[in-house]
Symmetry: C2
Subunit: 589 residues, 2 copies
Amino acid sequence: MTELFVRTLREDPADAEVPSHRWLVRAGYVRRAAPGIYSWLPLGYRVLRKVEAIVREEMELMGAQEVHLPALLPREPYEATNRWTEYGPNLFRLKDRRGNDMLLGPTHEEIFALMVKDLYNSYKDLPLSLFQIQTKYRDEARPRAGILRGREFVMKDSYSFDIDESGLQKSYDAHRDAYIKIFNRLGLQYEIVAAMSGAMGGSASEEFLGIAENGEDTFVRSPGGYAANVEAVRIPPAEPIPYDDAPAAHAEDTPDTPTIDTLVALANDRFPRADRPWQAGDTLKNVVLMITEPDGTRRPLVIGLPGDREVDAKRLEAQLEPATAEPFGADDFAAHPGLVKGYIGPAALGKESATKIEYLVDPRVGTGTRWLTGADEPGRHVFDLVCGRDFTPDGLIDVAEIREGDPSPDGSGPLHLARGMELGHIFQLGKKYAEALGLQVLDQNGKLVTVTMGSYGVGVSRAVAAVAEDTCDEKGLCWPPEIAPYRVHIVAAGKGSEIAEYAHELAFRLDEAGVEVLLDDRSVSPGVKFADSEILGMPTIVVVGRGLADGMIEVRDRRSGERTDIATADALGHLLALIRNGNAAELLV
Amino acid sequence: MTELFVRTLREDPADAEVPSHRWLVRAGYVRRAAPGIYSWLPLGYRVLRKVEAIVREEMELMGAQEVHLPALLPREPYEATNRWTEYGPNLFRLKDRRGNDMLLGPTHEEIFALMVKDLYNSYKDLPLSLFQIQTKYRDEARPRAGILRGREFVMKDSYSFDIDESGLQKSYDAHRDAYIKIFNRLGLQYEIVAAMSGAMGGSASEEFLGIAENGEDTFVRSPGGYAANVEAVRIPPAEPIPYDDAPAAHAEDTPDTPTIDTLVALANDRFPRADRPWQAGDTLKNVVLMITEPDGTRRPLVIGLPGDREVDAKRLEAQLEPATAEPFGADDFAAHPGLVKGYIGPAALGKESATKIEYLVDPRVGTGTRWLTGADEPGRHVFDLVCGRDFTPDGLIDVAEIREGDPSPDGSGPLHLARGMELGHIFQLGKKYAEALGLQVLDQNGKLVTVTMGSYGVGVSRAVAAVAEDTCDEKGLCWPPEIAPYRVHIVAAGKGSEIAEYAHELAFRLDEAGVEVLLDDRSVSPGVKFADSEILGMPTIVVVGRGLADGMIEVRDRRSGERTDIATADALGHLLALIRNGNAAELLV
């Protein structure tokens, strides 16, 4: 440690939102170079490379071949798939000295497809899986949490190429299995959930979500085993219900009721129901948005949903992608006088209406459902408005918030919500990219067929943060042995040449036996060394201190905190056995 | 090979200028993705990673610590050192979504200096050497020769930090020794030559130049051991010589002599010398250039040099850097009527002259030298113009071409010229970067002192091309064992399940013994397989063919072409011995 390029910090970095970020910076594993852009210091880089090695090993075991493609890429292939535009401001774009448009690769479907097109031409060449471990770039709007969501990050991306759907399914399953092995080896707690394919396109995708309180994603689980990112939860459309007994719709004066709460209160006061009080869920709330397409064109959209639910911003974003939505502003209302703010109802909505504004409703708004909603006049609402009788939406949109206890789409009971961070994502892309780029091969009958692709990603630098987040405690980092920068941290605690000499000797012997050792040989107080050993987080800490005079040293397990005294005579053997078996306590009692 | 993502090409790529480029593409090691930007296919990437491993090992052995800094960097630190501007169009610049200026790192002096400043503050922390193996970006005006000069490439860059000059010298020497080991292990032929520090700045630098006919660099060697890149050769200024016996300068009519040849011919015809004929070297040629500074300002410059020498474009570029030079155009002459094209002489030149144009001369133009040169009037030249008597240049500039046989600056005899490619470059930077970025530490007396830096680079991806260039022959690639993608290439040549089974078995046994094996199990003709094995270039080729019926297989040495039959009974032992000893011929006779 007198030579290692590391400094532990006593203070949390000002921008640290999550424990992994706090400790990785405080322990001198990473340093911020620019917003969302980090430098890896020696200890951090050792962890990163060990994670890379695990990913590489499992990818090779599943039969994928490693390649390395450029990060700086020409525009044209991304133009062919429309992602040059669809990626929006998340893409780092630049011009070279000749004025050619280029980009920093956020993901490489296009370039892999072109490379395979370049070399292969027959069904006999397939299946094929290629992978790379590479630095990727995304100009995130909100880079956060250190290396957890950076603008420059390391990713393992792989791509499969198959002649047909069943081949794709096999490649997809093989990747899924490899990912399970990778995340198990990293000791991460995770859930495999149904996911949105989003900008990537394709027919099906699953995410590996690390279970983490600080995760950016919310996912659901059902008693029956259904698991999905909330963005991907699909509420089944409501079955039609009879409405023969429904009275005719009738508009009523409801002054000063621009909100659901004021409306429900007034309805219960002036128009009480016989069966039960009015509730927010009896109202049909119409949320007005301004949509911007990637090419810049703008159009209004109204979403109708039960008044007791909000639109979930991430579910909305996922449904609209690559378009984006903003709240309707005062200028927008001024430009659309047909929309009476606070009193908007279905009569003024829909492509067939006078406003011609698209009107999509929540799947719960089914034929026969009966609503209390705006009458399109200030201070008036309409009662008993029946969907399918009194109004017909342009279609459905499933963007209402998912709530703890909502019925699961698989019918197995209530949904349970949890937070997670995306560790991996696997996509069945199908033919989208191959078609756009003309990746075809000859089939068994000599006919050209379009290749079917899959794409698969692991956030390698993010995995470092995820493990740190999973394992750190109130004292610092706490690495699992397989990816710890060093397996053993020897603290020479106390003055005197004997202590220093023994510590050096033990470090040398362990090193000779193939154990990675960090030796704290600094001339600082034992207290500083102990604190640092806890911040740095090597699995086993060996304290060479006053006990040495009596032929004893102390072994501490960083995770459990257990301390065991061992005789110097057996120290090497004990430590090697411990390292091979992974549990200090059992061996050393 | 039925599964490996590789295809050999029968045709040379259209843009291949050098053999390494031709063979790396034809053998399916790399593919072009954009001008100067290449994808690494599985075989190529294996070589790249092996070169990386050698570089990493030697850097760690010399005590450098590995880190990994971002490639996408903020503008500010490069602004502080003025390199944001000085790098000119070679720098890839871009803006992020918030409009911040960023760049793709061509080299990382600034960011390393800031990182050390961030963590260290005492002389006790030094010396320190850090390195990274990273993808770098330079928007080369003329990317060429495949991965030999690309716009995206892999570099090992390291940086040393010392308290003083003697520390820097030690760090520099340690890097120099490590580089010698690296290039020796790669089996490269190279020369260590004095070099220009150029845009990097600093006091001294040396290049490791791979000796290569197709190299872009020219370097010189003297009988006494002096070696330098031509850009760095410094001609000593001429000693003053007496000119008491020189006649007064006299202008003469020399019609139609706008070139040196026409002038010399006319002089010999009309004004013959008594002692010998006039020669081009007797004339003083004045070359007019337009200089553009990095900030865009332009100014003329005239360079005077003996008429038998040309200005060397690369030596000029290196002297003027970061400014650039272009030939003086017709418009420029029109704007400077004092310059009479074809008849320009010293009288019209210099900051003190009427034109005020800066006038620098070759070091050979010393005080007392006597010249035939322009008289600044159309069709007239001046004879016996003595430097230091009749004109005084503003200074010296050493940019004339270096020629085979020129006297060496070390006085040891004639210079010999050769071509090379830059494999590595080591710089004593001194305090330039540390000063600009405020990198100071406390010295032993508690005083703040500026840190002294060195910077050191190895072109890792270029080294792959350099080895390929050094070793390939007319049949294809020919890798040295240490970095070959596979050590042994087994060719199953001929039909029949016995041949296929034995080839598989042998491959399995070798693999089990830790030998990397490529097995050609394709159903193509033996001829195609033999040709491919030569193109792909593994060191040892094992042919399992008709001889198998008699219990024999053939071992071919890819480099020497030697073929040896060995009995299947001893095959594994023979091959393992060969691999351990590295020479097929000796073992197998």
